[in-house]
């Protein structure tokens, strides 16, 4: 039985349909109920919905053999997993944003509000810039408006939320998309089944191009 952790939400549904197309369907998943675990014994797969930011934890600790997680989560938590495939969906970018009239005063420590402290720390450390990280769990966009921070580091998809809050992207850090990850130990013992899925998904991506 191969355990697959899928991120709850729109991205997860897209991912599931890719798995379905690849021949690893599990019809019960489409029933409208609140169940979180779905199994197809015949195909030897079991899917479960988890919070997107938790997928990497399920996979790293082996509760799931494979899973799909955003590159942002992988960069932030640096889990010990194999990153087998870029699924090219859920595309966005990690970026630094600030108020439209922001001027970086390099004499001062830069105050950065973010959910992604590890990514932020690494990004500014590579530039040798002294920063003060303010960890927030949501509504990051209001931090510069209330002068809680000078800039924010966050995921930018369309930029609409930023624009509506009078913010703009000043630097792009890294492009983000959904990645298929695998537990290192599972990969040793269920390798052929995992490879099979990776190859099927890779074919789909190839066809899309």
């Amino acid at each position: 039985m191969l355990n697959v952790a899928l991120p709850k939400g729109r991205l997860g549904e897209k991912v599931y349909s890719m798995f379905e197309k690849a021949g690893f369907e599990c019809p019960s998943i489409k029933e409208n109920n609140r169940k979180l675990i779905f199994e197809n014994e015949e195909k030897a797969v079991r899917y479960f919905w988890v919070k997107p930011s938790d997928v990497a934890i399920y996979v790293e600790r082996g509760a799931a053999d494979i899973g799909v997680a955003g590159k942002d989560i992988l960069l932030e938590y640096e889990p010990e997993v194999y990153e087998l495939l870029d699924l090219n969906i859920g595309k966005c970018k990690m970026a630094v944003a600030a108020k439209a009239d922001f001027r970086d005063d390099t004499q001062k420590t830069l105050r950065v509000a973010t959910k992604f402290t590890n990514i932020t720390k690494n990004y500014y450390a590579a530039r040798g810039r002294d920063i003060d990280i303010i960890h927030l769990n949501g509504s990051i966009e209001i931090a510069p408006i209330l002068d809680l921070s000078d800039v924010i580091v966050d995921i930018v998809e369309t930029g609409t939320t930023l624009k509506e809050n009078n913010l703009e992207v000043i630097e792009s850090i890294v492009p983000i998309s959904a990645r298929m990850i695998a537990n290192k130990s599972s990969f040793k013992f269920k390798g052929s089944q995992i490879e099979n899925i990776v190859n099927e998904l890779a074919k789909q991506l190839e066809n899309k191009k």
Binding site: E83, S185, F189
Partner: protein, 371 residues
């Protein structure tokens, strides 16, 4: 003394098996103190899995540390002969911060180190013992072997910036082919050989064609060495448990040559890790070569989690009026028959027993039978 091996937990069993195994091959146990001067770890910080070390001030004012690692202490104290090999094994607790919880954890480690004149036989022996150590834990195991010399020769041939090199190493460790295709694109180099090297893993016969393809003057020796030693492991009957997998990456500042990682079915992370660390030896001012590995035993309690049907064979109940000599006789009789007996005034909560007995004036009476 008779030992009932079924009493042993998985990690204890593994420790016994491994100590037995290492002694059989002439390794002697290296016993060390729990503390080491902090200075030793500061100088070799990157070698350690984590920077966090428990420190305290000794009575003479020296800053000491609870050992986060055993290898450094062994290197420091070894004689490092250049005409033979010092072969030692250890079974020690180390103190590290566990990832995720950010709190210190005591981890039991068993491992071995070979220091001195390391040749192909010695490398083979250590790899074979690594495989057999895993076998001592479970029959379902895999030992992944890589060769840093080969990996770095291919990366060197790309001629890329140091920054990209670091990124490429991370990608190799994560089998992230998309990732390093992107880096190669950015650096405008052809990474085809590297992709082939990392995406081909399996037994030596499967990997050989790729090795022949990337063979060049700089890595020729390493390629031959890998093929030869892998074949020796095959001959020793370990072929189906050994995989050549170049995604095993250890810090290139310390490791060179062979590096390897062991996995056991049912445990989510690697349980064995090792390699040749000649570069670390140089950093510590020793001329000789070295190879070794460690087995992490803290994960083993998760293995074979079958719940025991009973905590104890019999519970004997007595009260304040019971004759405790008669009680002792009853216990001795049961224990003499190889049963486990728990003596109690009343039944403890949540205990699972086969038989419940009560001590009466006329003898022991069976109250309940669950067998």
């Amino acid at each position: 003394m008779d030992i009932d091996y079924s009493v042993l937990k998985e990690d204890e069993k593994a420790v016994f098996e491994m100590r037995n195994l290492y002694q059989k091959y002439g390794y002697t146990q290296y016993k060390m103190s729990k503390f080491e001067e902090y200075d030793l770890y500061v100088r070799n910080k990157d070698f350690l899995v984590s920077d966090n070390i428990i420190t305290f001030t000794d009575t003479n004012g020296k800053l000491m540390a609870l050992k986060p690692d055993v290898t450094l202490s062994i290197i420091k104290n070894c004689k490092a002969p250049d005409n033979c090999v010092e072969k030692v094994y250890y079974n020690e607790n180390v103190y590290r911060v566990s990832k995720g919880t950010h709190s210190f954890k005591e981890i039991m480690q068993v491992g071995l180190e070979c220091i001195g004149l390391i040749d192909d036989y010695c490398i083979y022996e250590v790899l074979m013992l690594a495989a057999k150590s895993l076998e001592g834990i479970s029959n379902d195991y895999i030992l992944d072997i890589s060769h840093m010399g080969i990996v770095s020769s291919v990366i060197d041939s790309l001629n890329i910036s140091d920054e990209s090199r670091e990124e490429i190493l991370t990608c190799i460790g994560a089998k992230n082919i998309n990732g390093f295709s992107r880096i190669c694109e950015k650096e405008n180099v052809n990474g085809e050989k590297l992709i082939k090297l990392v995406s081909n893993y399996g037994d030596i016969e499967k990997v050989k064609p790729v090795l022949e393809e990337i063979r060049n003057e700089t890595n020729e020796k390493d390629v031959d060495q890998l093929i030869k030693i892998a074949q020796m492991l095959n001959n020793c009957g370990l072929g189906d448990k050994i995989r050549i997998d170049f995604s095993v990456i250890n810090d290139m500042n310390y490791y060179n040559g062979f590096v390897f990682k062991g996995f056991v079915k049912g445990i989510a992370s690697g349980v064995l890790s090792g390699g040749q660390y000649d570069k670390l030896m140089r950093k510590m001012g020793k001329r000789s070569k070295a190879i070794g590995f460690a087995v992490y035993l803290d994960m083993l309690e998760r293995l074979n989690e079958t719940e025991k049907p009973y905590d104890v064979d019999a519970v004997i109940l007595y009260d304040e009026n019971s004759d405790i000599e008669a009680l002792d006789n009853a216990v001795r009789l049961l224990a003499g028959n190889g049963k486990s007996v728990m003596v109690q005034r009343s039944i403890p909560e949540k205990i699972k027993y086969k038989q419940l007995l009560r001590l009466r004036e006329r003898g022991v009476e069976i109250v309940e039978n669950n067998a």
